[in-house]
Symmetry: none
Subunit: 87 residues, 4 copies
């Protein structure tokens, strides 16, 4: 048991894209696909932590990337929302 792999895959030596980029890409895809429609609330940071099996810091790195692209926006005390207008 208990080896020291990170993502438990079967591949030998992947390029190891950072976890936060993988999360960002995943969310980006959901937004593109309309699973997360404009105006929709994203799962909370803590939910995303559980879903992706990482800590809040890593999730926030992913969300920061989406915010930089203006795909989502935060609202203090309420959550994050998919941006309505598309540039």
């Amino acid at each position: 048991m208990g080896r020291f792999v990170r993502d438990g895959g079967t591949e030998e030596h992947s390029p190891v894209r950072p976890v936060y980029q993988r999360i960002a890409a995943d969310l980006r895809a959901q937004i593109s696909a309309g699973v997360l429609a404009p105006g929709a609330t994203l799962p909370s940071e803590r939910d995303l932590c559980e879903r992706y099996g990482c800590v809040r810091f890593t999730v926030r790195q992913a969300l920061a990337a989406l915010e930089a692209d203006d795909l989502v926006g935060p609202v203090q005390g309420k959550g994050r929302f998919v941006t309505s207008r598309r540039p």
Copy 2:
């Protein structure tokens, strides 16, 4: 001092055997002896640098040797651990 062999009593590091091998051997011994038991956390790279009076690159050479033998394994953000299973 120094006759033919130079494993020297008190000098800090022999000029022949690479420092990283000496560090690796030292850690290997501690694992064999159970000082570092399976599952135990190794000292951090920086701790080992201080302890052995060398730079990180050298320490990492030593650790790479132990990893190649699957004696220890790294976990991102947490540290290095003595491998549980024995091959």
Copy 3:
């Protein structure tokens, strides 16, 4: 001794601007003033930690703000540099 203030000032209840914003403003000022000229190397993240008495994460938040404004840029394994061209 040892009370629980954060910035050791004498004020009663300041608005408490986040530490990273204070650091960012400080560096921004040095760049504007030419103390840090275009092409210059910034102090390392770890140096800035000591200088401002905080951890790396906080320093990186400040640096991220400057990078967002394209005032500085990172180079893997070398350091951060003040951007040459001014927009």
Copy 4:
């Protein structure tokens, strides 16, 4: 104890005395008794939530009371500590 008051044997929380006061009194007692010695770390807000079966807001009300009396003090990112000096 309990003469006029009804601190009730087994029920979870009295309907009269606010929960936050009960928590504050409990922590105050632990500090007086030295269970929580000067300089000691208090349990985290979330731990106290679990321990007392209430939400964070309530725990924070209790902690605010202790802070007002300068019995404990918060340190960003580290926790709350029992104040060293006694007024």
